[in-house]
């Protein structure tokens, strides 16, 4: 029979409380160094970024390279808003929202090419978009041209980062478990068949791009207010590649995978830091190895809950096997 998987309040709320408690203890009692704390913030921030990318590249299955452009728009919009309008620290939520919304607006526009273009052609359009945004920022005096914006208030702290991550996880999960999320997965598998079972493909794509850009925009806003500055050079090829690596490392179309991908990659980059530039050599090699041995990323399109489910099943089966074998030996 079908067992309905209800959202377990306990299963969801308790881990959140535990993680929150750990973070508070770590920060307030200064149990870890500032640099480690910074890594934790990077992990949280890039998890949001990757969740956003995953909406389009994972669930919708489009090979998009627009994330650098979305992050840049979110970061710049937020930086401008905090420099000129929302100067107080209590206005930080407004700043984040503003960054997210501006990115979302641009995401809505960027969904239009995806109605018609496909595959590598769409990849190049989205790449073009990202590089146009970068080029535009490099030449726009108002935002400091190639020098970027400096002296941005450092509002971001670990609570804001993980608060936003929690928000991002909830949003993504809600969308994925709705008719929109199901449409995305259907389009990923067979767009024509989706249209012929009444799925509104354009609408689904628009929503995917909007949510994606919104989350990426928020991550950009967090990043600017963490570093205190931003410059166009941060949103070029490296940013595009970084995003791709984290998404496909963790697994496409998986919330757990997004977080694991972001975590592993950030830890890897940070721990390899004393290798200097050699770390990119090691990192690149590792990426190849992972792809060869874990073709679909670490989590594939599975979630942590699926893994726990499978492990439980495995143990209960081995138990019954044991009893059977014991009986037969008797």
């Amino acid at each position: 029979m079908i067992t309905k998987r209800k959202n377990h309040l306990l299963g969801d709320v308790i881990p959140v409380i535990i993680i929150a408690a750990i973070l508070i203890v770590l920060k307030e009692f200064k149990l870890i160094s500032t640099s480690r704390l910074l890594i934790l913030q990077y992990i949280g921030l890039y998890s949001i970024f990757v969740l956003g990318i995953n909406m389009v590249n994972g669930y919708l299955g489009i090979f998009s390279l627009a994330h650098a452009g979305f992050m840049a728009s979110g970061a710049y919009a937020a930086a401008i808003s905090s420099k000129y309008f929302f100067k107080e620290s209590w206005m930080f939520p407004l700043i984040l929202l503003f960054g997210g919304l501006i990115a979302m607006l641009i995401g809505l526009i960027m969904s239009i090419p995806s109605f018609k273009a496909k595959g590598d052609y769409l990849a190049i359009i989205t790449l073009g978009f990202s590089l146009i945004v970068q080029s535009f920022l490099q030449n726009w005096r108002f935002v400091g041209a190639s020098k970027g914006i400096n002296n941005v208030a450092k509002f971001t702290n670990i609570y804001w980062v993980y608060g936003c991550l929690l928000f991002a996880i909830i949003i993504v999960r809600k969308f994925i478990n709705s008719k929109y999320g199901r449409s995305l997965k259907a389009i990923r598998e067979d767009q024509v068949a989706s249209e012929l079972v009444s799925v509104d493909v354009k609408r689904a794509k628009t929503i995917a791009f909007a949510v994606s850009a919104f989350l990426i925009g928020i991550s950009g806003a967090l990043l600017v207010h963490l570093l205190g500055y931003t410059s166009p050079s941060a949103y070029g090829y490296t940013n595009i590649v970084d995003g791709l690596v984290m998404v496909y490392l963790g697994g496409m179309g998986s919330i757990t995978g997004s977080i694991v991908g972001a975590t592993l990659w950030q830890i890897l980059i940070q721990t390899l830091k004393n290798l200097g530039t050699w770390r990119w050599v090691v990192g690149g090699g590792l990426l190849c190895v992972i792809m060869i041995f874990l073709t679909n990323g670490i989590f594939g399109n599975k979630e942590l809950s699926d893994a726990i489910h499978a492990i439980r099943k495995y143990f209960s089966r081995s138990k019954t096997n044991k009893t059977i074998s014991e009986e037969t030996t008797k």
């Binding site: 090419p113 052609y121 590089l131 030449n139 990119w280 050599v281 090699g285 190849c288 792809m291």
Partner: protein, 298 residues
């Protein structure tokens, strides 16, 4: 003035075209967006740099050095390309296309930063590979290297198109690019053909690097990034897998790069124009200018 700009356009266009073909070869035949291709270009630049610097210590025959260092560099990049294909792509032949792309991102990163660590981050200056002479055409002074770049690029393109059209290997390549399974039924060893496409790609990238080095001389470890994206764009603009398309795309980008700075207030807006043209073309003809429109089968 106008003639000079026209020569500049031809020069840049032919470099882009060569780079785009080298990218498109692998793209069309192996069906892989090779993000590591730019690194092959970078390696070619360094090999050319070291080989020619070394050779110039022995002799001063510029043309001899040029040809010999091209050969050395081609050999080196071919070996890199073969290894790359064997180690990082072949095991993934039956995997989802995206994991190959990610793998190529990894290879690209590895090679690029390997170059950085081995050769240092300081920009290098390529020795003059083409004799530094100027000639007069209709009252305009034009450096010889510009003419030679265009001539060499065209010769390379003609040889390549003859190879693809007239030889058995060329036929096999076209077959594999259209349908691997059907090609296998006809007794074509697609693995071998794909390896050849990587070698061709590497050699063409090396020639493009030689021409690029002659034209711009200063380069650093990340020289391949820009070339990679531009050739990607040129290949897609013209239609993936089509050699003629890659050439067309390359020249269009060359044209934009030369014309846009003359018209626009800020020269770096040319990137925006190039991408704008690209997006516009793809929105109207989603498979590129010379790409075939594949009808959706239901």
């Amino acid at each position: 003035m106008l003639l000079q700009q026209f020569i500049n356009f031809l020069q840049l266009g032919s470099i882009y075209a060569l780079a785009a073909i080298s990218f498109s070869m692998v793209y069309g035949i192996a069906g892989l967006v090779n993000f590591a291709h730019g690194s092959v270009f970078t390696i070619a630049m360094y090999l050319l740099f070291y080989a020619s610097t070394l050779l110039f210590k022995i002799t001063s025959a510029t043309w001899g050095v040029f040809v010999l260092s091209l050969m050395i560099a081609s050999l080196g990049t071919s070996i890199v390309a073969i290894l790359m294909e064997r180690i990082a792509y072949k095991p993934l032949r039956n995997a989802p296309p995206i994991s190959v792309v990610v793998s190529s991102v990894g290879v690209g990163m590895l090679l690029e930063y390997l170059a950085l660590n081995l050769a240092g981050s300081k920009a290098k200056r390529m020795p003059n590979l083409i004799p530094d002479i100027t000639i007069d055409i209709a009252g305009t002074t034009i450096p010889l290297f510009k003419i030679m770049i265009i001539v060499i690029a065209f010769i390379a393109m003609i040889i390549l198109s003859l190879l693809v059209r007239k030889t058995q290997l060329g036929v096999a390549m076209r077959a594999v690019s259209q349908d691997k399974t059907a090609a296998a039924f006809m007794g074509i060893d697609s693995n071998r053909v794909i390896t050849y496409s990587f070698i061709f790609g590497a050699v063409l990238a090396t020639i493009a690097a030689g021409l690029y080095g002659s034209a711009y001389s200063i380069f650093a470890y990340n020289v391949g990034d820009t070339i990679n994206w531009w050739s990607f764009i040129a290949a897609v603009l013209g239609g993936i897998g089509s050699i003629e398309g890659a050439v067309l795309g390359g020249f269009i980008l060359g044209g934009i790069n030369v014309i846009a700075p003359m018209v626009l207030p800020v020269s770096s807006y040319k990137d925006i124009v190039a991408f704008g043209v690209l997006i516009f073309v793809l929105l109207i003809k989603p498979t590129g200018l010379l790409g075939k429109n594949a009808a959706e089968k239901v």
